[in-house]
Symmetry: C2
Subunit: 515 residues, 2 copies
Amino acid sequence: MAVPNDAQYPPELSPEEEQYLLTNVKDWSIAHGLAVRPAPTFVSQERDPSGVLATTAPVTLFPSIFPRSCFEQGLAIQKAYNELYSAIARDEEWIKGIVEELAPIDDFVEKLWNVHLEVKKEGYVQDLSLGLFRSDYMVHANTDSDKTSLGIRQVEFNTIASSFGGLSSKVSSMHRHLLAINAYPSSSSSIITENALRQSKATSSLAKGLAAAHSAYGPSRNKHPLCVLFVVQDPERNVFDQRHLEYAVLEESGVRSFRLPFHRILSDSKVDSDRNLLYTPPSLPSMTFEVTTIYFRAGYSPDDHPRPEDWDARRHLERSRAIKCPSILTQLAGCKKVQQVLATPHSPHLKRFLLDESVASHVLETFAPIYSLDESKAGREAQKLARHPDSAARYVLKPQREGGGNNIYRKAIPDFLEKTPQKNWPAYILMEMIEPPPLRNAILRNGEVQKGGVIGELGVYGVCLWRNGSGETSKGEILENWEAGYLLRTKGDQSEEGGVAAGFGAVDSCCLVDS
Amino acid sequence: MAVPNDAQYPPELSPEEEQYLLTNVKDWSIAHGLAVRPAPTFVSQERDPSGVLATTAPVTLFPSIFPRSCFEQGLAIQKAYNELYSAIARDEEWIKGIVEELAPIDDFVEKLWNVHLEVKKEGYVQDLSLGLFRSDYMVHANTDSDKTSLGIRQVEFNTIASSFGGLSSKVSSMHRHLLAINAYPSSSSSIITENALRQSKATSSLAKGLAAAHSAYGPSRNKHPLCVLFVVQDPERNVFDQRHLEYAVLEESGVRSFRLPFHRILSDSKVDSDRNLLYTPPSLPSMTFEVTTIYFRAGYSPDDHPRPEDWDARRHLERSRAIKCPSILTQLAGCKKVQQVLATPHSPHLKRFLLDESVASHVLETFAPIYSLDESKAGREAQKLARHPDSAARYVLKPQREGGGNNIYRKAIPDFLEKTPQKNWPAYILMEMIEPPPLRNAILRNGEVQKGGVIGELGVYGVCLWRNGSGETSKGEILENWEAGYLLRTKGDQSEEGGVAAGFGAVDSCCLVDS
C-alpha cells in the first residue's frame, strides 16, 4: 500500500517514547470520556459493586494508514447508501420476499415481521422513519487486472444500533492531540501530519439526525413535554459512546432524552388512545413526556428478547406514533440476506431501488460478491465452493442474523457445513473474503499493549429521515440525507471478528496516504 | 441560613430518583474527565498494574447552598489578595523576618530560604513572577451583634500548587447538567435554579495565566521552541485535574507543556550559561525546549524533597531564567505564619502591603483572628486559651507548614500541647474556629454515597503576574491581575480536614441563595 517504501509504520518506539505515548493516551482518554466500563474479566462486579470504575476504551496508539482515495470513496457513497436502504425500507412487498425466505430458518426475523404485520393491520400512525446507518468497508487489493488497484468493499450495512459514533469522534481528536504534543516520533513525521489525520464528526452529526427527527415530529397535541428515548441494554459497558450522543443532542439542539432499558419498556411507557408514546421516568413519576423518536441501541438480537413480553414491548413501540430509528421494516432491510441479494452478481435488485444508473454503479463497485447457499443453480455452485477447503479459503460464511461473532472463516467452512443439517445452510451466506493490504499497529486494551498485524474496517455513518408514503399511492420521499462522519475499527489480524465491545477490536482513526 | 424555612435541603430522594441521579453522576463524570485514579485501598496496584482504571472524583450529588453575598464577597476581594501576596513576595526583608522566626522550628522553610539566598548571591536573572493563587474561606455566622450576619473568613491562602481548578470547572458543569435533565426533584426547584448555579471558569482562567507568563517571557534567544513545565508528583492520582489545565493551555493558547516529575528535574533539564532552562523530554532526546514558565504542582512539602539532590533540583530551577509559579519568595509568602501575622488583631503589617485603606479594610474583614504561641504577651495569652479545654473549644491549632492533614481541633488541643515540647509550640498557630452554618449534602466517593452534615470551603482562584523590580530602587509592578474562578470543597462535618485528594472531601459547586 501507500506507506513510503522505506518507512516502517508504525515507527519503532524507544521505551521512553512508548511511555510518553502511553501515558498521554491513558490520561487524555479518561479526561475526554474515550472510555468503557471495564470488562468483568478485568474488574469483577464484587470489586466494584456500584460500577464507578472506567478504563480507556480499546484504542490504537497510532492512527492506521488508510488510502485517501478509499476513504473519500466511502464518504462520497454514503448518501447513495442512505437512499438505497431508505428505498428498501419503503418497499414492504420486496422485504416480504426476503422475509419469506428467511422465516423458516430465522425465527427472529419471522417475529420481527409478525410485529410489522400486526401493526400494519391496525394501521401505522407515523409516516416518518429515521435511519442512523453505518456502512462498513475494508480496503480490498483488486488484482483482477495486471495492475493492483485499491478500492473499498462493503462488509455489512447496519440499520440498527450503529455504534461507536461517540467514541470515533473522540479517538480522532486524541490522535490529533498526540501529534500536536510530539507523541509520534519524527521518523513518522512525513506520514502522520495534520493534513493526513481525519477528524470524525460522528457525534455531532448523528445527534443532529436525532434532533431533525425530533423536530419533524411536531408539537405534542396534549402539550406534553417532548423527548427522545434511547432504548438500551442494561448494563451497558459501552455506555459512554451512547452518552456522548445524548449530551450532544441536549447541548447542541436542546433536545431532552432518556435511557430506557429494553426490559422496562412496558412498565415505564404507555401508548395512549391517539397512539402517542408517553414516557414517565421512574425518577419523575409526576411527569409525562411524549416520545418523538425512539433510538434503538438494543433490540437487534434475540438476546434482547428473552421473554414473550419483550415482543409485546417491541409491538408496543412500533404501533406508537413515535418516529422509530429504525422501524421494523428498516431493521429488516439490514438483514445480511438483503446485502447478499443486492451483491449477487447480475442481480436485478439494485436498480429497483436506485434509479440513477451512475449512482447505482458506484454502489455496485463497493459490493463483494455474495452467494446464497440455497438450492438455486447459483446456490449449488456456491455450495460446491464452500465444501472444498481449497476454494473455501477465499470465503467467509456468515449467518443471516445481525450481530457478528459467529462467522466461519475460510478452511473451517467445509467442516462446519458438514456438521450443519443441509436444510439450515440457507441461514448462511457465502461471501468472497476481502483481502486487505497488510498493516501494523499497536492496540491498548485493559492496560496491555498488543502489537502486530492488523486489519482496519472503515464505518461510514449516514443520517436519513424519510416519509414512507401512504400505501399504494406514494413511494414516500426523503426529507434529510447526509453523511455523518466515520469510524475506523481495527483488530488484530489473528482474530477475524471486529466488534470492539466484544473485546476483539479497537477504535481508531484514519491517517490518509495517497495510494 | 438562607434555605427557605420549610424546605429541606438537599431534598429527600425516592430510590428511583436516587438511582437516576447517581447513574447520571457516574456517567457524566467519566464522559467529561471529572475523574481521579482510584485510591490503592479501592483498586490495588496488582489489580491494575498499568494504571488504566479511573473513577469519578469525590463529588457532591447536589450543589451546596452558599450565601450569594459571601460568594460575591470572595470573588470581589481576590484581586486585592493577589496584590497583597504579590507585594509580600516582593518584600524580601519582611519575609526574612518571618523566616527567622520559623527557621529554628521548620527546616523546610529554612531550606527554601537558603535556596533563595544562594540564588540571590548569584543574582536572579528573571524579574517576572507568576502566582496562580487560591484563597480558601468558610462562611462564618457572626454573632457579635444582636443580629447574626454572614461573612466569609479565610482558612488559608495557597501560593503553590493550588489544586482542583480543573475539576471545579467540571463539577459546576455537571451540577448544571443534572438540573437540565431533571435529576433534582421538583421539591428543590425553587432553590436549584439556573440562576443560582455558578459555573467555575477556573480551568480556562488559570490556563490563561500560564499563557500570559509564557508570552511575557519573550522569545528564545537561541531559537529553541518554548514550553511550560508542570513539575509534578509521580504517581499522581489527581492527574486529570492537572491535565485539564494542560489541555486548555494548548488548545486555547497554543502553548506546549510537559509534565516533569520532581525527581527527574536534574536528569531531564539543564541550565545553560545564560541560565536559560532547557528541557529535553526523555521521549524526544533530539529536541531541546526552552522553559518559559515552571508551574509547581509539587514541591510544597518536605515529602517532595526526600534526598539532598532534591534541594539541588530546586536551586537549579530557581536560578534559571524561567518564570517560576511560584518563586521561592512567593512560596514563603504562603506560610501560615504570614497569614497569622497579618491576621493578628491590631497588626500593622497589612497596611505595609495594601496602601489603599479601603482595600485593606475589605481584606481585613475576611481574616479570622490568629495568634502565635510564642513568648510575647499576646502569645502567652493565646497559650492560656489553648491549654484549657473550655476555651480551646473555639480554636484550631495549625502547623505553620503547608499541606493540611495535621490540624488539631478544639478540645484535643490541650492534650496535644501537653505532649509537645514547649519550644516547639511556635511551630503552630492558634486560629479562632470558623463557625459555618449547618448544611447537609450527599457525597459520592469510591462508589459509596455518604449523606449528612457537611462543611463547605470556598476557594477563589487568582492569577497575578508581576515584575519584582531590581533591588533597592523599585518595588516592582503588577502586570496582570484577575480573579480566576472558584472551587467549592465540601467535607463531612465529622472530619475536620478538607483535602479531597487526601480522601476527606469532595468537589462541589455553589447554589447561591440570598441571605
